[in-house]
Amino acid sequence: MSATDVKTENGAEPDTAQLPDVISSEVASTPLSSSWSRAVERSRRGGWFSVLTVLLGLLFAALVIYPLVRVLLQIFFVNGKFDFSIAQEVLAYPDLGQVLLNTVILVASSMVLALFFGALFAWLMERTDARIGRLAALMPMLPMLMPPIAGAIGWVFLLAPQSGFINAIIRAVLDFFGLHLTTGPLNIYSWAGLIALYTAYQIPFAFLMITTGLRNSDSSMEEASRISGASLGKTLRRITIPVLRPSLGAAALYMVWFGFSFYSVPVVLGTQMNVKVLPVEIVKLLTFTFPANTQVAVGLSIFLVIAIGTAWYFQGRILRNNRHSSIGGKGQRNSVTALGKWRRPAQALLVLYFSLTFVLPLLAQALVALNGYWTTTIKWASLDITRLWTGITANSEALTAFGTSSLLGVVGATIGITLAAIFALYLREHRSRLSRALDGIIKLPAALSAIVVGLGFILAFAGPPFNLGNTIAILLLCYLVLFLPQATIAADAAAAQVDRQLSEASWVSGAGNARTFARINIPLMLPGLVAGWGLLFVWMTGELNASVMLAGTQTPVVGYYILQTFQYGGFATLASLAFGLTLLNIVVLTIAHFIEKRTTARSS
């Protein structure tokens, strides 16, 4: 129904010769410039608001493209000449093979485990009576409630061989049976520990995507298979898994994307174990090496891009091979399998996962903070509640970091969700080549690693002529680029809730685009936008991958500061920061949730 498409096609029509200019310049094969000028012409017709939208879009596109171009230039040109010597330098990087192998092992093993557990949890929650409603809603949110850097610290507190709380408890129990250990028996600084934490943080994504897949597929397909005589296992193999293939593929893709740039867990654990992984090496070359070896850091990031690109390719193949995308059973409640005696154990498993990834690390953070230092011999009487926050407030740097992150979160989320709302509406109403290109560019960072984007920002904006290095501005811009894809997804969903005719009714009433946006679209999209704002805030305050490169001593952010504190000691501050960050996230997401609910109730 696109006016543009029609017009463009019409240019080839012979009988429109009497309408010269508008149409003859719009033959399908016109160069891009003409299609741009046409878009500008169209947007001018739409009033100043459309002009503003297009300008913002172009500005933002430049913000995405320019750093990436700088990364590419860095790879292929040295001192202004085409040069591929970087390849030799990268290939000569010490332990390159080992680094890549470590990364692949971690990503692959955690992906398999996370797919298994994610699918199991999704099935338990969606299709069986083991469902725990509140937990089902909370599960995909876990990595946002407790950012991985905070979670990793929590797990170090729990499972460090000497002073890990769980180890201490196990040792006490074993001691009772006459078995004396001085360390262990468990050790978070191990391959098992690494893989377990990778998996723990991958499960929510698998859970979310497979849950969506299950919701969109009709359980009567499985029932039909059972009635046809297939066993539960055969039904799973022949019906459920093939139907879920797109969701499984999407989950796997996301995990490759996430896993290859996962920085917090390997930097906390791997550094101690001397297990090197790709994102940590890249950041190390750039930030913790003097002088920074940008050239090789950029070269190494190619491997990230290759891994993610390969994942995209296979994802595309899965989607192409999948021709049964429209699956019936819309809106109906899927039937629920009674698990009988397995129901309680299944629920126990779900609760255990929740405890391991959220409750226990949070308790460990709180305990270390309350105690003032990290020890297994807790003097319960001398725990001090004020220490929960004095770890932050008594330390001016920690306080600055917390303040900076909160400020970035508030400002970034507000700008981000507003931009996303403007773009989402523009893209919905204009299906031109320009708008499609903008859409692609806005979503591009989601297909790249935060490490690569962060690298690009250093190359592009840290030095002259922008000189934004060590400023809040560079962090803010980078966060916007990184998270606008997610923000537009939230805004798209919010826009989809608002019938187009509501905008049209406003136009016909005599309101232009700006007024329609302010008085009709924004109020109606508000619930979705508030939810999106909450997520953006949480992502931005917990961001580490790019921040670790972009933040400096002038502009410390929480993630960066937690990492530094971890490397130089100061566990009370560390625990206090990790706990505070988690608490902040919980509070913000809860408030956003309630505002969302209230505004939804009011306007429906």
Binding site: V22, R45, E504, S506, W507, V508, S509, L524, S604
Partner: protein, 393 residues
Amino acid sequence: MTTAVSDRALPKVVSQQSAATPGMPALLIENVHKEFVRRDGTKVPAVDNISLRIEQGEFVVLLGPSGCGKTTLLRCVAGLEQPDSGTIVINGEPHYSSANRLNSPPDKRKLGMIFQSYALWPHMKVSQNVAYPLQVRKVPKSEIRDRVMNVLELAGIKELAEQYPGQLSGGQQQRVALARALVSNNGLVLFDEPLSNVDAKVREQLRFEILKMQAEIGFAAVYVTHDQDEAMELSDRIAVLNSGKISQLDRPEAIYDRPADRYVAKFVGATNEIEGVVKSIGADGMAVVTTEAGPVGGVIGQGGIAVGDTVCIIGRPENFVLGTTAPRADHNEWAGEVLTTMFMGDHRGAVVTVKGWGDVRVHFPSSTTSEIGDSVTVELPPKFARIYKPSEK
């Protein structure tokens, strides 16, 4: 509605209309053309060079099945779609002209429009919904309140002013949409299948109220629907659309009694149909067609026919006469057997099996009866039998 109230309401609601010079059409559509491109690249003309002139205060219905282009045409008038070519002039002011590269946005066209989904803004109260077009057009605040209350009173929903649309029934929402469309426009209101979402009883009531308000305020209307009863009842004129073209544009009676072609005949009202070959053509516009049911006399429809043409003859159920005397040959009378009968309130219907015709639907007064299995005579007076070329689908 008391006259006192509507007298007060009238001047303000209709204030812009007085600007219209006499004789100037409310809407002038000239050669408007719009194509859509299917996914496979083929072009479909949604609106195929349509021209249409709507006078001040006139109620014109665009009637046709889904996909005939009626909604596209309406949206082109509103400025919500852009035609490929043509001219659209509203109250003497050009708003679209491909020759002049003119296409004004919807907010500059000063129309009232009622959407299929009503498109009431759920976050605004009824009074706020109705006030919006006035606020946008910078009407002074003191005046807004009066005009809103007047138009709400006119629509019979004054007591709902402080409610949210979500709290209203379908019929009430419809009235709000109507009030919003009427509160500020230059005498032209567009209706996009507004009654398709309410149940039959409410629909009838609302049709009546639309007519009443039109009589009181006197706006011109373009009304899109696929419901022929609605079209008949509301319109001064009906434009029957077929594949983007106007098949017939006329008063409802003319459309019903003298459909221009087979498509219009079949779309407007129920029909019985038989195929045949033209045997002879009379000087009085009548012709005789040889069919399986024998020779049938009838009136030649628009487009003309020649001897030897394959044609079809169409008769409406209420024009068939059910009798008991034996059929006379060559008098458009045939013997048949009653297959089923239906009681339809104000009349009865029967399906009669007639050799050659197949199943013929016949309407007759409720006072007469007919039993299943009765042998009857069916007559179609030649003046009600209309002959069309079958190619005019």
